[in-house]
Symmetry: C2
Subunit: 762 residues, 2 copies
């Protein structure tokens, strides 16, 4: 029997199995982009990862570690004791159990019938949500029925004794229970000195004795009462969360903020006290409805798994982003786990951003403004590494932290020693990836305001970095890019990684183009940027080197070498790993050094290049290279399968495409119960959306503009999705025969291409 | 059915109940005074407190907190997986379970028959001990039988993701698995910068595939193998522990220590690899045998609970003390839990030290040398508080830390706010208690060397503190001691606490006496101390004030007022709390401020005075005051009952004495399954010994020398205990009729008093 069931708009945990709790904590995560709360059960279990995050509160737990998003005090745990027996699913008997998450309302509901070791029978319902109406609110409700008269104790509070896997991020500042019921906890991050205040208030539908309980770093209220057999007990808890980094208080002087958030927190908690769970839920639900109206994708298929996958993606895409705060990025695990420490990677720009660019352009802009603010750290990194311009950090945290990639991690399978992480040092393509995303955003939105304020500056600075990064190789009289890691991280220290070289060339070419455009079309801005950045110098640097930059071309067999050495590497039969459920399974047999010696890839590298630039090579070369590299790709990165699915569809490998697509939507949603332990894969979730819209929907926006060339799976009846193009809100419907209907919901008239034909949408 | 059974030399956990795991973790703690490891089960459970401590490694987790003994990385957990099912007692079925701790060998053994949820049957035996032969070693063994052929995975390592209830004390320095099997973990305390190195090696009686596993702050080896039905699998793990604070390396420069302990650790782990569990256990067992030979007490009773209690006390008294290291004290919870943060209180001197003074005087000396080293902090505290001389910290940690009492704790039941801790500020009697212990030690041991090197100096400095502490009250023309807390901590901010005033007077009087003694008998030492401390000045200060120090005398009813206000306080019926199992239960109904208004005591205060100075008042006054105060004492301190038992026995309240005695031995050993969660009560355990030897055995050493006036419970046939008096090792046997036989085992001849008659023991 499958533990995880798919109901279209709902995903369901059908039974409880302790060893799989982390899966459900992660994929059932609730949030709103400001707050993220893993769906750990109300009772504690061994192995649980009970995380709550407030975006942007980054802190370094110790000098030896890098900054990370700290796990703040927990509000979610609720202890229930019936006649001295504590409710726990690993004790007594579970008569029935189900938990579901409604992807369109953000509410999770758990219904349990349980018999205690001594035979008391309980009917329990747990509901909870993080509000989309007010970002600071988390609400829980427990309903309890007992088959006999009983003494009940419910204990719940704020538990600051949490860590990120043992790393402590907070010092206690204050704990109190005031007015006999309101709980308040204030803590401060140890290194970044961000104060977080949390409040909570509980209510019951029966009178209870309240006893405050304080332990180290914790406080709680204990509610004791008696209930009759079959009398329904209702317990509600409202928790609020504020931090000194909150956007609303960012304009205040730092020393004023605590007072202000204390005031706000106390005010809010009193307001919430008199509002019911249902009222609060209704308000949050209305916001979810608005969101889904703008975002929903309809699929004409009976495959409920497929239908669920897009709602799952749309749900997580919403809760991973702080839509209006340009000081924070999206973490590789969003706010759903400690994995990757809350850091942002190229994942955002190439895998997540497209969804926002094409559906919620105002959010895409926020995310790209974040990258503008990152320029501070990027310039710093360039300087530290002896380059010019802006060299984006491989991993980003707080807006001006600069490079935060850890230097060491994991255990080497062969030597047993911890391994050095090279990505932060030599994975450079991100500086071009961000430029690509900006260029794409501009093509889709025509947002000149963004370009003028932020975009051009990033492009020029990034291009200058690349120009300074090129190495002149005298005996070949050409420039090369040596010693990098491309997207395929199984190949460290390679020379002339095709992806990197082409992306660098693209960035420099774009800078020249934009510079010339401004010079003629917007002289005023040109002059401002010139005086700030010295555009002539940048242009000179690029023009001196770019013509001699080595761009790997297809060899005699038509294969573009992924790097100088790739095609000469040893071959390896990787079917064992490709067919395995285990991600990174190859690391059980080979270490990084050994992997460097085989012709295997973690993820698309040259294929990624084909995906981003469809006109770079002719159709035959593209197809040949896709086949060649797909065969060698383990898809050990969660970013990989959706890209391959899209290209396979383009090349009419229908079966392969659908298989890859199924793989892509299964990274978190599939039956592998271990894949999401450390959090969901935010880029993979962006990839799900891309597979629908760019893959089957065939949407691209290249130089000529928006083009739709769909190719639906043969048993789909239709596919309908929204697009926002140059200010016009569209609804696109693709029929079974790939006929396209485009409906404009609002905005000005636009020009698009459908299957090669130009259309004017009035 | 009782969960905890008493077998004389063994205590037994008869079945598993998750909610009581903390009790057994604590009372089954293993150690050797250097190392202390709570007996958390090999598998993890919700609510477990899995602590490992190395004495002396104190660290402050944050600026807001006080220094504490940090929980170092865990070596005790062992994960067992059979055909993908993880062994856990909260899942599947427990067919049988028992765990016992042999108090005379230090080994714990757990035997479990378990059926997995899918029906696989396992027979398991877990054994473990901390070596008394080599302080750095912890050894575990698992034997496993399965009813069918199965795949087994055993995973165990070193887990540094531990904290003290969420407070992180260590930064990772290095983790590695070298030579494919040896695990090594180095971490450094965050504030005191003490590096700790831990090593581990595992072995199996069958070949297994070893895979190293590294997580954040953790490393482990995973052993995979297949076993046949009913084939016995044996797994042994040896773990080693070193710190830069270890006594053996204290002579090295700080920067040399890590290299040295790394070398030692690596060497030891290779030596242990080739030695079996049984060999290592034998060597440790021999040391336990030596110890019990010197310490054992025989009781002629059929009450197995009583018999167990003394072995329980002797066991914990051994593992709580680092016998040869005068830089560390004994924590209030010893090395068995995080309670009281590893800090030493007056508990050591008045409740634990007597055992060592009378049985292992060399260890008592070590502990009193620790107090000499504390002088640094005591002088500092005096100065900071505007006094002269040495004012001992209420709580002590590392030898020169000074005062480490936390300033805040707990929740006020009425206001809900955290409460201020006044003990560190105004509980002053410890400075006299230490002097009392030194004086007593000297009377018992005649250790002039200690006195000359350390003892006199402490006495003079303490006396000077007291002289400076006295306040002149002009309208009464007398000196008083105002605003203190006496041993009865339910009365804060009292004036003229009888215990404190008498102890202060005693200290000052002793200083005068010792000063005069030295002046005539040891002029050389007198001159040295005089030039260092200015003995004339101290004498002048004392002589000016002492005669006018107010010492509360019995009132008209013959009652010595505990403080100026005590006898005027409101009366309260405390039978509810006295009869309750819950300690500190009164705090559920009253807060500290309110308790100050009632005539109730947490522990003996005036009674303690009667206990320490038997000649201070006449028999009738003593008896009357005992009755008066016992009636008002809640015994909410674990120090209380043994003292009252001893006095009740003296006053021939046989039944009351035995009841109090049973209460005293039950603090940790009794059936209250919550009393020891945060660790055992080391002073209470010292009190158990005192109840036997000072209570029923009637041993005192006052001015005239050793006196034995026994009074056995009426149904005991005999009591036999060891004493070391002035260098002579004695074995004392008290018969049913209280006849006494004293056997000298070695040492010079001595003079003692038995029931008032002087005896010369040749």
């Amino acid at each position: 029997m499958q533990q995880l069931e798919y109901k279209g708009t709902v995903i369901k945990e059908c039974f409880f199995e302790r060893k799989n709790i982390n899966k459900f904590e992660a994929i059932f995560t609730q949030g709103n982009g400001y707050l993220g709360i893993r769906n750990a059960l109300e009772e504690h279990y061994v192995g649980e990862i009970r995380d709550t995050f407030i975006t942007g509160t980054f802190n370094k737990a110790s000098k030896e570690e890098v900054t990370e998003l700290p796990n703040i005090a927990d509000a979610s745990a609720v202890k229930i004791i019936v006649n001295e027996e504590e409710f726990s699913l690993t004790e007594g008997k579970i008569s029935s159990y189900e938990r579901s998450l409604d992807l369109t309302t953000g509410e999770s509901t758990r219904i349990v019938k349980w018999e205690s070791p001594k035979g008391i029978k309980l009917d329990l319902m747990f509901r909870r949500f993080v509000s989309l109406d007010n970002e600071h609110i988390f609400v829980q409700k427990v309903e309890l029925l007992c088959d006999q008269d009983a003494n009940i104790i419910i204990e719940s509070g704020i538990d600051g004794s949490v860590t990120n896997s043992g790393a402590m991020h907070f010092e206690d500042i204050q704990r109190r229970v005031y007015d006999g019921k309101y709980m308040e906890y204030i803590a401060k991050t140890t290194q970044s000195h961000v104060k977080v205040i949390q409040g909570a208030v509980c209510s019951l539908n029966k009178e209870a004795l309240i006893i405050p309980v304080m332990g180290r770093r914790t406080l709680a209220n204990k509610y004791s009462l008696k209930i009759k057999a079959n009398e329904k007990l209702e317990f509600e808890k409202k928790s609020v969360f504020f931090s000194e980094r909150d956007k609303e208080y960012a304009h205040l002087k730092i020393e004023k903020r605590l007072d202000e958030i204390k005031k706000e927190s106390a005010k809010l908690i009193r307001e919430l006290e008199v509002q019911s769970y249902n009222e609060l839920f209704k308000r949050s639900g209305a916001k979810w409805q608005d969101y889904f109206e703008k975002s929903k994708i309809d699929i004409g298929t009976d495959d409920i798994y497929v239908k669920t996958s897009i709602n799952f993606a749309l749900y997580h895409l919403r809760i991973m982003v702080k839509a209006d705060d340009n000081r924070v990025g999206i973490g590789a695990k969003a706010l759903s786990g400690e994995g990757y420490k809350g850091h942002s990677f190229w994942d955002t720009e190439l895998f997540i951003l497209p969804y926002f660019t094409y559906t919620h352009p105002e959010i895409a802009r926020t995310l790209l403004e974040y990258r503008y603010h990152n320029l501070y750290g990027a310039r710093l990194k360039a300087k530290e590494n002896g380059y010019e311009g802006a060299m984006y950090p491989w991993e980003c945290a707080w807006v001006d932290d600069g490079e935060v990639t850890p230097l060491y991690m994991g255990a080497d399978i062969v030597t047993g020693e911890i391994t050095k992480v090279w990505t932060g040092i030599i994975e450079h393509h991100i500086t071009a990836d961000i430029v690509y995303a900006i260029d794409n955003y501009y093509r889709v939105t025509n947002d000149n305001d963004y370009m003028e304020k932020y975009g051009y500056e990033i492009i020029f600075e990034a291009a200058l970095f690349w120009a300074s990064r090129l190495e002149y190789i005298a005996d070949k009289d050409r420039y090369e890019i040596r010693n990098v890691i491309g997207p395929d991280e199984y190949k460290e220290h390679v020379d002339n990684n095709a992806y990197t070289n082409y992306m660098a060339a693209y960035t420099m070419r774009l800078a020249i183009e934009k510079s010339e455009y401004l010079k003629t079309e917007n002289k005023k801005l040109f002059d401002i940027l010139d005086s700030k950045l010295d555009l002539k110098y940048i242009k000179d640097c690029i023009e001196k080197k770019l013509p001699k930059l080595y761009l790997p071309l297809p060899n005699e067999e038509g294969i573009i070498p992924q790097s100088d050495t790739f095609l000469g590497l040893k071959k390896l039969d990787i079917s064992k790993y490709k067919n395995s459920d285990e991600v990174l399974g190859i690391y059980n047999d080979y270490n990084t050094k050994q992997l460097n010696e085989y012709m295997v890839s973690k993820q698309s590298d040259t294929v990624m290049l084909l995906y981003l630039f469809r006109d770079l090579f002719d159709h035959e070369t593209r197809k040949k290279n896709f086949i060649f590299y797909e065969d060698k790709t383990l898809h050990d990165s969660s970013l990989s399968k959706s890209t391959h699915a899209i290209l396979a569809n383009e090349f009419d490998f229908e079966e392969m495409s659908y298989k890859l697509f199924k793989g892509a939507i299964s990274v978190d949603l599939g039956s592998n119960m271990k894949s999401s332990d450390e959090g969901i894969h935010s880029a993979s979730i962006g990839g799900i959306w891309a597979a629908y819209v760019f893959g089957f929907g065939g949407v691209t926006v290249e130089s000529k503009g928006l083009s739709i060339e769909p190719c639906l799976p043969k048993d789909w009846d239709f596919l309908e999705f929204p697009l926002v193009y140059q200010g016009a809100r569209l609804r696109v419907r693709v029929e079974k025969d790939n006929q396209v209907r485009v409906k404009k919901l609002d905005g000005k008239s636009i020009e698009i291409y459908v299957k090669g034909e130009k259309l004017i949408i009035q």
